[in-house]
């Protein structure tokens, strides 16, 4: 018996059930199945409810983490989801795709003992629990302020700004270039990691709050930011990082060489995996190489695998430097993705009919750390070899799409295309224009974009109140 009031530390982090690898590698259903109620309560009861919680500081949107976890421990799920929604309008999304291990969970005091609380899984549990109840609780809105805000881009940053501002009484319109809302959540992240129904649910929640949504509208083309400023009191730009990088090596325009954006957009947004019921075609490939080591590379690799290909992830550093989330790397390994570390493609070779047939690679070794703090990959001379492939997916990164910058005079932009903003407020060099998310930081994470959206919303609100 432990003394009353002196709880024995339970360092057994509760596992979340998953589809077994041999089953899930052949379907597009969600891999991780979520905590059953009892497991969630047990996991929540492990939280020490620290008097000075460090986890909150690890969360870019500052969710009151101990408070919602205590609600789960006490089985008051209604109160729990309410606590989260004070700060986060996309809990079902964040509970799935945030890199919790580097954020809130990294800061958990139990981490040092090896048993940090599974904060992300608990967040997901509450969001899913609420959805399963059927009726989502709607907050009461303040009276309209009469101020209007245009949000450019329907991804995580834009959704956050819209959610925050509508709850402060401002009228909000989101302009989205694609035909579906969600940005990277719908075109980039695969169904098996984030079911599209969940994104749809979160977007519907905003719509019910009164957010106006205009899809198929390209700001910078259909209308400019300046034209929106004639009609709206403020504009928030959250247009993401939608310009894919290529390596500029020979053979890159051969058929079968994709950007990650093309491959994932065909599959996710256009539902290529349901071809021909959905009409956007995808190819059947047998040997796919994915270049890169981030989350996007893992998404591409696991998608190609599910379509029946043998998949190799080709990465120029070692496993230690892989930028992807550990959980996604493990998922990929379990499902049978093969990793070729310390390998750099130098050219693609065609089959004579315009299709990629082989890839010439160089082996690398690691030298001294570079500017990124990671050990620099150095080519090993004479180590060239060829790998047979019939598709290559280039997942080495994206920069912001220049459409908006090039049509908005006076908007200060860095050489790499990112918009310059005041870090605390998200204010750009243009009056009444704010920006946040990947368009400011370059390709980053969903939660960072949401954090930026939150800050910008706060600043926009201040401005609107001063009018």
């Amino acid at each position: 018996m432990t003394e009353p009031g002196k709880k024995k530390l339970d360092l057994r982090r509760r596992e979340m059930p998953k589809q077994p690898p041999e089953v899930r590698r052949r379907n597009f259903s969600e891999v991780a199945l979520g905590y059953p109620v009892e497991t969630a309560v047990e996991e929540a009861q492990r939280c020490l409810n620290c008097p000075k919680p460090s986890c909150i500081g690890g969360c870019p949107v500052e969710i009151d983490i101990p408070k919602f976890i205590q609600c789960i421990a006490a089985r008051d799920f209604v109160a729990g989801i309410r606590v989260i929604k004070e700060k986060n309008c996309l809990p079902a999304v964040c509970g799935r795709v945030c890199p919790q291990e580097e954020q809130c969970e990294e800061a958990c005091v139990l981490k040092k003992r090896g048993g940090q609380v599974a904060i992300g899984r608990l967040e997901r549990f509450l969001a899913d629990w609420e959805a399963a109840q059927g009726e989502v609780e709607m907050p009461t809105l303040p009276p309209p302020t009469g101020r209007k805000v245009a949000v450019v881009g329907g991804g995580p940053a834009g959704l956050t700004v819209a959610g925050d501002l509508i709850r402060l009484g401002h009228a909000v319109t989101i302009f989205e270039a694609l035909h579906k809302m969600g940005g990277v959540l719908v075109y980039g992240i695969p169904e098996f990691r984030l079911p599209k129904a969940i994104v749809h649910r979160e977007v519907e929640y905003l719509r019910r709050l009164g957010v106006q949504i205009v899809t198929d509208f390209v700001v910078g083309k259909t209308r400019t930011v300046d034209s929106l400023l004639e009609e709206y009191d403020a504009v928030f730009i959250g247009s993401g990082a939608g310009l894919p990088w290529f390596m500029q090596i020979p053979g890159e325009n051969l058929n079968g060489v994709y950007s990650a954006n093309e491959y994932l957009t065909r599959m996710n947004l256009m539902k290529g995996f349901l071809f021909p019921q959905y009409h956007t075609p995808i190819k059947e490939h047998r040997r796919v190489a994915v270049i890169g080591g981030g989350n996007v590379a893992m998404d591409c690799a696991r998608t190609a695998l599910r379509l029946g290909a043998e998949v190799r992830v080709v990465y120029r550093r070692s496993r230690e430097e892989l930028p992807a989330r550990e959980e996604e790397i493990e998922n990929a390994e379990e499902e049978g993705v093969v990793f070729d570390f310390l390998t750099l493609p130098v050219r693609y070779i065609g089959d004579g009919n315009g299709w990629v047939k082989e890839m010439e690679c160089l082996k690398m070794k690691l030298g001294e750390p570079d500017a990124s703090g990671r050990r620099r990959p150095i080519p090993i001379e004479g180590s060239e070899y060829r790998m047979a492939v019939d598709a290559v997916i280039c997942a080495i990164g994206n920069s912001p799409n220049p459409l908006i910058a090039s049509t908005t005079p006076g908007l200060e932009v860095r050489k790499n295309g990112t918009i310059v903003v005041d870090e605390e407020t998200g204010k750009t060099s243009r009056e009444r224009v704010w920006a946040g998310g990947d368009v400011v930081t370059g390709a980053a994470t969903v939660i960072l974009a949401m954090g930026a959206g939150r800050k910008a919303a706060r600043s926009i609100h201040q401005y609107l109140c001063s009018l």
């Binding site: 035909h179 075109y187 259909t222 957009t265 256009m270 539902k271 019921q277 075609p281 190819k283 459409l403």
Partner: protein, 284 residues
């Protein structure tokens, strides 16, 4: 959702749609295109715009029925709603006072040539229009083009109207109106390539409007990349216009063929029958 206001088969297999999309119509400039989805499960395909009316809020498109999406579009009755009409996309064609401009159009490109010829004429150019088809019954908009040009030439493969042959006859037209300062050409990739081949030895700058495979049309997916000179360009945002003498045509033709087999499946199922597509429709 954009309403389809009117639909018409103007010549066999070639269709003219009038679409109500006021924001797009207001912003359109000659040479730009839109991305259209014909149905919820449909693809996003780029289509050149043939005309627009900002006051009415409408734009029109001429296209050839060659695949699943175009076949669905061709069958939609007036009053239908298109789930996606987004644009205007791409850079407008450069319009300036060049002197004498030869505008060459074939197939659906005859339609999108019309606003270009009109704008060039307004800019004070001498505008020569040459349109090409397999036979006279496949020609359209001759009167419209005549109204915005100084000369209108017709080339038919079978000689049923105008010059007999194909764009290989262009040097004769050019010889009759020297000097030609610029050539602008719209139509299928084969036509664009052939016009560029013909004009290269004559040293006349030739602007081609490319139509590669696209998905988003805003520079995000990169499938429309094309080698121009020594660099890779995205046709959707860097184009669709490029210098025809700099384009790597072999690569572009190859890239356009990527999904032919898959497109056939959709096309057949959209027709509910077996169908044969004639690739390149006769530009030998």
């Amino acid at each position: 959702m954009a309403e389809l206001r009117a639909t018409e088969m103007i010549v066999p297999n070639m269709h003219l749609l009038t679409i109500h999309a006021p924001e797009v119509a207001k912003a359109l400039r000659p040479g730009q295109f839109v991305i259209v989805r014909a149905e919820e499960e449909g693809e996003r395909i780029p289509l050149s715009v043939s005309d627009w009316d900002p006051a009415e809020g409408t734009l029109s498109i001429v296209f050839m029925n060659v695949g699943g999406t175009t076949n669905t579009l061709a069958k939609l009755p007036a009053g239908s709603r298109l789930p996606t009409v987004v644009g205007p996309l791409g850079k407008p064609t450069e319009i300036d006072h060049f002197g004498t401009v030869l505008c060459v159009g074939g197939c659906y490109g005859i339609g999108s040539l019309y606003p270009l010829a009109r704008a060039l004429k307004l800019a004070g150019n001498k505008v020569i229009v040459a349109i090409e088809a397999r036979s006279s019954f496949l020609l359209f908009w001759e009167e419209r083009l005549a109204q915005v040009s100084d000369q209108l030439h017709v080339i038919t493969r079978d000689g049923s109207k105008g010059l007999r042959g194909h764009v290989g006859r262009l040097p004769e037209i050019i010889a009759g109106c020297q000097p030609v300062h610029r050539i602008i050409t719209n139509g299928c990739t084969y036509l664009l390539k052939r016009v560029s081949d013909v004009s290269r030895p004559l040293g006349i700058k030739t602007v081609v409007s490319l139509n590669p495979i696209m998905i988003d049309g805003t520079g995000m997916c990169g499938v429309c990349r094309v080698t121009v000179g020594a660099s890779t360009q995205f046709a959707c945002v860097d184009g669709p216009d490029f210098d025809g003498h700099q384009v790597d045509w072999a690569e572009l033709l190859q890239r356009r063929m990527q999904y032919v087999r898959e497109e056939m499946r959709v096309y057949r199922s959209s027709r509910g029958e077996e169908a044969v597509i004639c690739q390149g429709h006769g530009h030998d």
